[in-house]
Point group: C2
Chain length 407, copies 2
């Protein structure tokens, strides 16, 4: 159970996210911070009451902070910490908390130093980046000029104001926000684990898990059909037992995960946020790869082309002269492997047939070259992306059967 380290005794159980910027509400820029932070907070066992994107309008943003403080223990905002008149997150928090901002001398010196080192004179308007309200402390920004705010309300609620750029948020969250949230007891008594499955459908997974598991309270088990995997998410809270205390959240999640992994053996290719690139890296175990893709529009290279074990890829349109030499897909897998001097060759060909995409996949490892076929059920770009994912799944299965210890 959360052990809040604050005189108010308020635990941090519910949070609300405010993404601030008119470029978000006009659809000019898509917010990715909200989802990333929701995911982070979910892992701490903090439930999200809502995610809100707001325009740069002072009354609107002030009102949103007030409402959020009425509902949640923690309010996290992103954006609006720049030096321009449009950047009004500080003003909104000050108004919502009925406090007055003033320039903090230490922060002002830090800001001036940044400009000095660049040989620039700091414009006056930048001074508002050195503001604080009495209940706020600054969150250092290691990669930008906009410090964040950690605001401790008298009733134990917390506001965390972060800048907008994802890179700055990540650094500030990891180094300064997460440790303080842990101090305040967030994440204590809660645990989450996600299993990522391949070569099996969501309804089949649900059937194998059974109603007892899927409708339990602790652990909670849920399935999600994502583009690149079927996911099983297991979350738990500490049991409140008798004198012995019951099982911890971590124990419950670990026991449930290993029971499910046993039942779904051979399908779990990754855990938590692990991607196909990471899972294939583990399965390749030091081997290198070359790929030929025909009719998939570069979706396979896009998926794995940045991996260190990816040496060479060919992307060909169906029917082009470069394609005609690859009638035999097994030969193509060997050909690209040998051109690149790689250990493993992978060739995939996708053909759209009405609503379906027919996918043929060849994998060449050592002297053995295998050929598989699959059906992807969507035409167009999604069908092509599914073809690339099918190729990853096939490669992973062939590599895993080669070395049964790796899964």
């Amino acid at each position: 159970m959360p052990v809040p380290n604050h005189p108010s005794g308020r635990p941090i159980l519910a949070a609300e996210l405010l993404a601030i910027g008119s470029e978000l509400t006009t659809g000019e820029i898509r917010d990715t911070n909200g989802g990333d932070l929701a995911h982070e907070l979910d892992r701490l066992g903090v439930s999200m009451t809502r995610l809100v994107a707001l325009p740069d309008d002072l009354p609107t943003v002030t009102g949103a902070f007030r409402e959020a403080l009425g509902r949640a223990d923690l309010v996290v905002s992103t954006g609006g910490l720049g030096p321009t008149p449009d950047d009004l997150t500080r003003e909104a928090i000050a108004a919502a908390c009925d406090e007055l901002p003033s320039v903090d001398p230490t922060m002002a010196r830090w800001l001036r130093d940044i400009f000095d080192r660049r040989g620039l004179v700091m414009p006056d308007r930048n001074l508002k980046q050195a503001w604080l309200v009495p209940s706020a402390t600054a969150l250092p920004n290691p990669v930008g000029t906009a410090p964040g705010w950690w605001v401790d309300r008298p009733d134990g609620r917390v506001i965390v104001a972060l800048p907008g750029p994802p890179r700055e948020i990540q650094a500030m969250w990891r180094d300064h926000v997460l440790p303080r949230l842990h101090e305040r007891g967030a994440g204590a008594g809660a645990a989450v684990r996600t299993l990522r499955l391949t070569q099996i459908g969501e309804s089949h997974v649900a059937e194998m898990l059974g109603d007892t598991l899927l409708h339990g309270e602790n652990p909670r088990v849920a399935t999600y059909a994502k583009a690149d995997a079927v996911e099983v998410r297991i979350s738990a809270r500490d049991e409140r037992g008798g004198p012995s205390g019951g099982r911890t959240a971590g124990e419950i999640v670990a026991e449930t995960a290993s029971a499910i992994e046993e039942r779904l053996a051979g399908h779990v290719f990754a855990h938590d946020d692990e991607t196909w690139v990471e899972a294939l890296g583990v399965a390749l175990h030091g081997l290198t790869l070359a790929c030929a893709e025909i009719g998939t529009g570069g979706t396979l290279s896009a998926l794995i082309g940045e991996a260190p074990w990816f040496l060479y890829g060919e992307v060909t349109a169906p029917g082009s002269s470069a394609t005609r030499r690859d009638r035999d897909l097994r030969a193509a897998a060997r050909r690209v492997r040998d051109i690149a001097g790689a250990d493993v060759g992978l060739a995939v060909r996708a053909r759209e047939r009405g609503k379906d995409t027919q996918v043929a996949i060849a994998v060449a490892i050592g002297r053995r070259t295998t050929l598989g076929r699959r059906l992807a059920f969507l035409t167009g770009p999604m069908g092509r992306r599914r073809a690339a994912l099918a190729a990853c799944a096939e490669l992973w299965a062939r590599l895993s059967e080669r070395s049964p210890g790796v899964s």
Copy 2:
């Protein structure tokens, strides 16, 4: 000016979007519908008061509908229209409007027909997809079993409830929502145009546009630095003139756009939602393309690999044996062009040097092969993606100088 076609006389000027689903507030699934619809509404001159993602919790969702109806003329929701107990958008709208839902016989028949045609018996729980409240009419779903709702409130406010899958939303929006919004006057008297620029920085664009243009009220002109372009967005409303009526929004936007295009000639590669693929398709004017990319991790093939004029691409890791044959980038551009039997060859090589990515680009058109160099300022995946965009920009510039009529 909007001419609302409703007895209340309320124009549709402000909207709020509610995306409903716990998978969004846990960060399991990222909402893309909100941004898409915000962009659609922005083009109609409807301003967005906020975008909200909510968990599947009846009191929370009901409260959000009530609050949104207090602020906006139009409330658009996505998700929560399925047949399961978790799908509670209909229940929330009914509660927020103080109305009772009942089964609509026509919709029930339509639903049963869908199951009949698949040889299935409709489960009882699906019957709630045939619900309506008295102030709602059904929005047909051409690609799923979840009809939407159009709810006309007595005060002229409107609720539009859409399903969650983007494909279903797009069809329903285009065929059934947009026509009704036009009938209600949305989009009348407003116009928007976006110019997409290449080979120029945002601050340089701002300087060339000047303060008068950037701080005007009608038209409003704003710049955005996006990953793939610097954008200039021009929006306007009809002038309220004397007896002659003043200029229309469309006229103001067209005049402003052509003045800006003249000032920024040679940089405007696309308009509105046009992508690099579309702009290059216009510039290629029937020619076909083959690409060699070295050290860019497949980002170029990912960007343009699905275009019909893309015949062949090679993706190689720096330092692999396949790369060594391409020391001379101009020769590589010609080599891939000839392998693929394409008209144009493009070769790009990216090298990470500390914080920068150095990019060399060769373009082979007919007998002429040109070599250009660029610097992309971010390392890692973003640097590689910028290298691919730099290659597109270089190709576009070479094609445009070849045929000055195309821009």
